[in-house]
Symmetry: C2
DNA sequence: AACCTTAAATGGTAGAACCAATAAGTCAAC
DNA sequence: GTTGACTTATTGGTTCTACCATTTAAGGTT
């Protein structure tokens, strides 16, 4: 018998998925948009002829996906958002911890993406971007105690976010956070190497950025990332032993 | 009063979020891994002293995130997966339809990422990759009727997936699907421009890839994307009028 | 005017019951 | 021995009811 008869495994759509699809369809058709509020759980359950629990599962799915925001109390309810980046970051983190993505592949992709972001940032960064980056570096210098490691991590993530913002491209910001924020998980687990001065490296980097020197900026960032990656890979090995 | 006192908005964690965190913590600690099965909803609800609905919302969240797979019936239950790329693709699509991401930014990021992927693919693609790409092009040539537009779309997505696979980097595959698959939504909405021969362009592209000619391959792909991009922007404008 | 009380609406949780699908076991027919 | 129908136990999917916690508005009190 031929194996190309086109049979596909049956997929019985669950009720809450149908609700999700209907809501997404309304959004894509433009009948509801960001800022609008959906009917309450009880009301929508009645309209769709399903139980409130089913509507809740659909709302939960869309809330986790960054499509809805749920607020309690009268005047609360489900409001449509503009979308969110967190689901992407979370998924990358899950892929890393579940073994669906190796640390080596992840870091290489991070390098590739950084390169393009630096290229765009060199073209388009404004004075506001430069001063924001320098303010971030200055704040990092002040957080130099062991107890402030969480603040330093937050500032590091902010540094890359500011760099991505300099590209004036929202998609690049999204991709940057997707490949940067999962680092926070690793930093919390394995700690950070404090044997070199990241502030000095970043200061030089921003100087190259100001001079619109793409190659020098990429070189400086690559050197920084090589150190970090070597450290992370060594810590990963020691952690598994 | 200083605004740097470190006050943060209180966020009362919901019960199902606590359940999610506990499961993710178990995964990250290595106590449960991909392939393992979690207790049933009823059993876990009893262990955690919460209602079954709460466990369900947690399972639902992790299922949507690609962490769990839920199966009915005896011997069913919640099994831990290796992670999934779908949440990322879905989020990008949502961002596009909700206005959190412009089509212009999206396509520019797509171009940047393609460049890096082509660069890596030129270095690492094997004979198997080339023949897979060529088989895909051959299949595309056969699907040339209007009725087969869905098949053509699927083959287009597969073409880019195969190209990403040639990088031998799973993270690049993930990013590729994240910026490519949302196109399917647009294609379904606005249709495709069939005034030029995509198969011919892709054939040339693979030839350059075979010769490891990075610049020529990038140029060919860029030209293709410029045409597509111009077409999509024109259709988007006409759709909003 | 400032403060407190009350009420109403809404999401969050609990618990029970039942439906639907799945897999394994049992048994009769061939 | 194999096939197929039937039974049974387990589990996710759904419904329903009830109640809790939070938020906002309205009204009343000082």
């Amino acid at each position: 018998m031929s194996s190309s008869m086109g049979f596909r495994p049956v997929k019985t759509k669950r009720a809450f998925e149908e609700v999700c699809d209907q809501i997404r369809a309304e959004i894509q058709a433009g009948r509801i948009a960001a800022g609008d509020k959906l009917p309450s759980e009880r009301e929508l359950a009645e309209q769709l002829q399903v139980s409130r629990a089913t509507v809740r599962e659909a709302f939960r799915t869309l809330e986790i996906g960054g499509v809805l925001s749920l607020q309690k109390g009268v005047k609360g309810g489900a409001m449509v958002m503009h979308g969110d980046v967190k689901p992407i970051t979370q998924t990358i983190s899950d892929l890393l911890s579940l073994g669906g993505l190796s640390l080596a592949d992840y870091t290489e992709a991070r390098k590739c993406l950084q390169k393009e972001i630096i290229r765009l940032a060199c073209e388009r960064a404004t004075e506001e971007d430069f001063s924001a980056l320098e303010a971030n570096i200055a704040a990092t210098r002040e957080k130099n105690t062991e107890a402030q490691i969480e603040d330093r991590t937050a500032l590091t993530l902010q540094f890359y976010a500011l760099l991505a913002r300099a590209t004036k491209n929202k998609a690049m910001e999204i991709l940057m956070s997707a490949v940067t924020e999962p680092l926070a998980y690793y930093i919390k687990q394995i700690g950070v190497d404090r044997s070199w001065d990241v502030a000095a490296s970043r200061t030089k980097f921003v100087q190259y950025l100001r001079k619109r020197d793409v190659d020098a900026a990429i070189a400086e960032m690559s050197a920084h990332m090589e150190r970090l990656h070597a450290y992370m890979l060594s810590r990963e090995l020691s952690a598994t032993h």
